[in-house]
């Protein structure tokens, strides 16, 4: 079930650069469902499911496993940790949040009093309290270079929505897992890439795409929302269906793939939205520019409060996306 | 005469010759008494057969907003100032026609790549805007476009959307067009249609016309600003294109004669002519001149709602333009 797969993947620790625990979960889930699985030098998990037809195209579908976090840069005499951002984590959103390290050590992120009249707090104004009374005690729990992420916290909201950290982008990982499970005797070859280091510049997908040399690229990711007070753009709503990306900062979707997604949605009878994002990027940007160029698009799950500890999605959009993807791998 | 010809004619305030010549030719075919007065207004009089009917004057202005050349730079660019109200923010990256030869020119601006954050915010004012006609130096620029040459936006007349038109100078060539229609009507009283000059620089032409015409009733046909789209709160929208001719009870320069105003609304209602009340006290126009010249006159203003009125692309709805003429003529017949 999509919801169970999602919950399993959301629980895995996996900051940018240390995605192996997420990859392990994916391997477990996909075991017996695919033709091959391998891990490359950057930790990308590359999964193949061969197409039935002789002239099958290779479709690379990428979903990044990594999650934004805080890396410890200093442990102070009093036992407090100083941190630096891993990926786009905002000091304002992480302040007063609970975080965890790889071994489960918890910490509370706190903010120094604002004595300089700053409009926005900076990372250097934050510290992490892990309950240690001294540097020595802290060092028993945490080392410099360790990374903390938002503590897992899966919350059902209303009938269809769920909130959790790391929804960006485990919801897409869940979608890709389900696609690889459900696809059966499909026309084209699917190369599922559970990619790494997206949050710091699409680094995993770039090398994966070079190695895979796909005919068609598709990224699965979350996108921003435009349906809460004073937020109008992008004009994308939760629960109104997955969004086909027209463009963002990293990529203008190739017309071929974009239109195939619309076609797939129509064939699946799923309503989709049209997404124009003035910022942000996905693995699609890296895939499209690989080698001599790869026709590439992105299918997005609308997600509120992206990069906060409560990223909210609507499960109906996930279900719709899965149906679209099952059609897409036949039509593309 | 059609609206395309009228809006593409060159006529910034003080330089109405081309428009006047066009209108004069058209008016002469419609009435015997066509003259040009001391202020450059084109006055078209038609004697009535029934002395019991009141004498009515209609006015519309021939002039439009534009530009005037004020200098030349070393590298052959033209310095200029607006004639009438042109927001400097609408002139960047637009096309103009300059001078007697109607030379083509463009208004450029420093590329976005070269702008500092302050440049991006700061409005380019008329000290920092230039017309480029392609001249190599000041001498060539001066020879082609001497000081005092006029310029206007170079905007073709284009119908678009559902019955809309985008053009230059809809304010107030729509009124000019409709005055010609009024001259065709069979009103039995004395009728005068006056095409006035220099409205955009302070109602200057109409002041002279009002002084020598001394009508009982003066009805002004205008274009007025409509702000119905985008972020403008409803109370500031003034009027809506497509909802008919706008009848003013008051603007910043004159108050309509109450009886005349009510009569116009009633005629519109009786004849099913699309109309709306102008829902704001904004703008000022030639009605003020007629109301206050000599012994005074009863006035009212009928306006065509017009979006982006002080830019190179005025937008109006053709049905509203027709409604303006229809109401004016129906009003005459009701007298």
């Amino acid at each position: 079930m999509l919801r169970d797969t999602l919950q399993t993947l959301l629980g895995a620790y996996g900051p940018t650069g240390q995605e192996h625990l997420v990859a392990d979960k994916v391997r477990e889930l996909l075991s017996g469902h695919v033709d091959s699985m391998r891990t490359d030098a950057l930790g990308n998990l590359i999964v193949e499911k061969f197409g039935a037809e002789e002239n099958a195209k290779t479709i690379m579908i990428s979903a990044h496993m990594d999650h934004i976090g805080l890396v410890v840069t200093d442990i102070e005499k009093e036992g407090f940790l100083r941190v630096h951002a891993v990926g786009g984590i905002s000091p304002r959103l992480v302040a007063a949040r609970k975080v965890v390290f790889a071994d489960g050590t918890p910490g509370i992120v706190a903010l120094e009093p604002n004595t300089k009249g700053k409009k926005e707090p900076e990372m250097s104004d934050l510290f992490v309290d892990i309950g240690a009374d001294s540097r020595e005690e802290a060092e028993k729990l945490v080392s410099i270079g360790d990374v903390a992420v938002y503590a897992p916290d899966f919350t059902a909201l209303g009938r269809h929505k769920v909130a959790s950290p790391a929804m960006d982008n485990r919801c897409a990982c869940a979608l890709l897992v389900e696609l690889l499970m459900y696809a059966e005797g499909q026309k084209n070859t699917i190369v599922g890439v559970f990619s790494t280091q997206e949050e710091v510049g699409l680094r995993g997908a770039r090398v994966a795409a070079y190695a895979v040399e796909p005919d068609i690229g598709l990224a699965l990711d979350v996108t921003a929302w435009g349906d809460t007070p004073q937020t109008k753009l992008p004009a994308v709503k939760l629960g109104a269906g997955p969004a086909v990306k027209i463009m963002d900062r990293s990529m203008i979707a190739s017309p071929y793939v974009r239109d195939k997604l619309f076609e797939a949605a129509q064939a699946a009878g799923v309503a989709v939205q049209r997404e124009v994002l003035a910022f942000g990027g996905t693995d699609g940007g890296a895939i499209q520019l690989s080698r001599g160029g790869v026709p590439t698009g992105t299918l997005s799950i609308p997600c509120r409060y992206v990069h906060s500890a409560n990223e909210v999605i609507d499960l109906r959009d996930m279900e719709g996306a899965l149906k679209v993807l099952l059609q897409f791998i036949e039509l593309a | 005469m059609d609206l395309k010809t009228l809006t593409e004619a060159f006529g910034p305030s003080g330089c109405e010759q081309e428009v006047r010549a066009l209108l004069k030719e058209a008016a002469q075919a419609l009435c015997d008494d066509v003259s040009i007065d001391r202020a450059g207004n084109l006055v078209c009089r038609r004697k009535g057969s029934d002395p019991m009917k009141p004498s009515v004057t209609f006015a519309a202005h021939m002039d439009e907003i534009g530009f005037i050349i004020t200098g030349h730079t070393e590298d052959g660019l033209l310095r200029f100032r607006p004639v009438g109200g042109v927001d400097p923010r609408v002139v960047v990256s637009k096309w103009v026609l300059v001078g007697k030869e109607r030379l083509r020119g463009v208004i450029g601006a420093m590329a976005i790549h070269l702008q500092t954050p302050a440049d991006r915010e700061r409005v380019l004012d008329y000290d920092n805007l230039f017309i480029d006609i392609g001249a190599r130096d000041a001498k060539e620029a001066e020879r082609l476009c001497p000081l005092g040459a006029y310029a206007v936006f170079d905007t073709p007349y284009t119908e678009f959307g559902e019955g809309f038109v985008a053009a230059r100078a809809l304010d107030d060539r729509v009124g000019c067009l409709n005055l010609l229609d009024i001259l065709k009507s069979d009103y039995a009283g004395d009728l005068c249609c006056v095409f006035v000059t220099q409205e955009e620089v302070g109602l200057r032409g109409s002041r002279g016309a009002a002084f020598h015409l001394q009508p009982d009733i003066a009805i002004i046909l205008e274009g007025t600003a409509a702000n119905d789209l985008g972020d403008t709160p409803e109370r500031f929208q003034v009027c809506v294109p497509g909802q008919g001719v706008a009848v003013s009870f008051m603007d910043r320069a004159s108050i309509a004669n109450q009886q005349l105003y009510q009569q116009l609304l009633q005629v519109a209602q009786e004849h099913g002519i699309p109309h709306q009340v102008k829902r704001a006290v904004t703008g000022g126009n030639d009605a003020a001149s007629f109301q206050q010249a000599g012994k005074g006159a009863r006035t009212c203003v009928l306006s065509v709602p017009c979006r982006y009125i002080h830019s190179g692309n005025n937008v109006a709805k053709l049905s509203d333009i027709k409604a303006q003429a229809d109401l004016a003529i129906a009003f005459l017949h009701s007298l």
Binding site: I246 | A109, G161, Y308
Partner: protein, 345 residues
């Protein structure tokens, strides 16, 4: 076709970054009679090959254009705008645009009227977010016609000014595509050893993306990137601008010095005057993308001065189209195997 006519026609054709299909087809058709083979790749790069047995030379000028995109449709039927590439919001109020909905629709860009703004608001430029497109249609009709993501193209007018100067949108960089067209015509009567690839690249305005992929695919020995640079404009910093009337050969770490020397030499022989620009780092042209392809491609950058870049009145001296075409053709003739050995001397 006269090169000026080519420029007039090509600048009108739709080709916003990422969706350059229509303009790519136009270029392919125009280049075909002068080449051995022409194809359009999946990124919409047009690649025109004129065969030779010698070194592989890539000429690149981008065919995409900056523009706008519908990001939202308001209840009153007005359209809100995003941008494709860097559009100066100052040029937008009062501008006409083409909206590519189901049909091509004319729109006018509107803004809140100045008399409704506070004095402080009036002292600042409108931002793109403040503006909207007015289609003159009832909201229902707008929704039938237009979708989020539809492209919005700025008004095209080819305006001939005095002294052979021309103002027209998208001279950046289709004037340089026109230069390649001129070069191809001149090459009909010339013999060349090199294997020539004239590439009209896609997606330059969003990060030289077409140049990156086409240079990888073609794997050239040498490359000449063609783009526009800034001509003198009031208020602009002098070191960033050049005279309008002659071409510019840039120098700096992204430009191969020996290859640049070759270009300058050819210009001298042909009596074509060149200005020099100094670019200390990224050139923000296709030269950057090509230079870093595969193991690296020695690349030079030839630039055409343009006033009012990224506006609807981009202004150039049409004489440069012919001079530039001639320089490219003669450079193509001059390339030989021997150059490879001189590259790092």
């Amino acid at each position: 076709m006269r090169t000026e006519d080519f420029l007039r026609d090509i600048t009108a054709i739709r080709g916003l970054s990422g969706d350059e299909g229509p303009v790519a087809d136009f270029v392919a058709d125009a280049f075909r009679p002068y080449c051995d083979e022409v194809w359009v790749d999946q990124m919409h790069n047009v690649i025109a090959r004129k065969k030779g047995g010698g070194p592989k030379v890539m000429f690149a000028a981008h065919l995409d254009e900056i523009g706008l995109m519908v990001v939202n449709i308001e209840e009153d039927g007005s359209l809100r705008l995003g941008q494709v590439g860097g559009v100066d919001p100052r040029i937008l109020p009062g501008q006409r645009v083409w909206v590519y909905g189901k049909d091509r629709l004319l729109g006018i860009i509107g803004a809140k009227a100045p008399h409704l703004l506070s004095a402080e608001e009036r002292s600042k430029n409108y931002q793109r977010e403040d503006l909207y497109v007015d289609l003159g249609l009832p909201p229902q009709r707008v929704r039938e016609q237009v979708q989020i993501g539809d492209q919005v193209q700025l008004e095209h007018r080819y305006t001939a000014l005095q002294n052979g100067r021309v103002a027209v949108k998208t001279s950046d960089d289709r004037a340089c595509v026109a230069m390649m067209f001129e070069a191809l015509k001149q090459l009909q009567n010339l013999r060349h050893e090199a294997d020539l690839y004239f590439v009209a690249t896609a997606q330059e305005e969003v990060g030289t993306r077409g140049a990156i992929t086409s240079a990888f695919a073609l794997d050239p020995d040498f490359a000449v990137a063609l783009d526009v640079c800034h001509a003198d404009t009031p208020g602009a910093p002098a070191w960033r601008t050049h005279k309008l009337d002659s071409l510019v050969a840039s120098m700096g770490p992204f430009i191969h010095p020996v290859l640049r020397g070759k270009l300058v030499e050819v210009a001298k022989e042909q009596n074509i005057s060149l200005q020099t620009a100094v670019v200390p780092r990224s050139t923000f042209t296709d030269a950057d993308g090509i230079g870093e392809a595969r193991a690296g491609v020695p690349t030079v950058l030839l630039e055409l001065p343009l006033k009012n870049m990224h506006t609807t009145v981009e202004t150039l001296d049409s004489k440069n189209l012919r001079e530039g075409g001639r320089l490219l053709a003669q450079f193509a003739v001059a390339v030989n195997e021997g150059w490879e050995d001189e590259l790092w001397t």
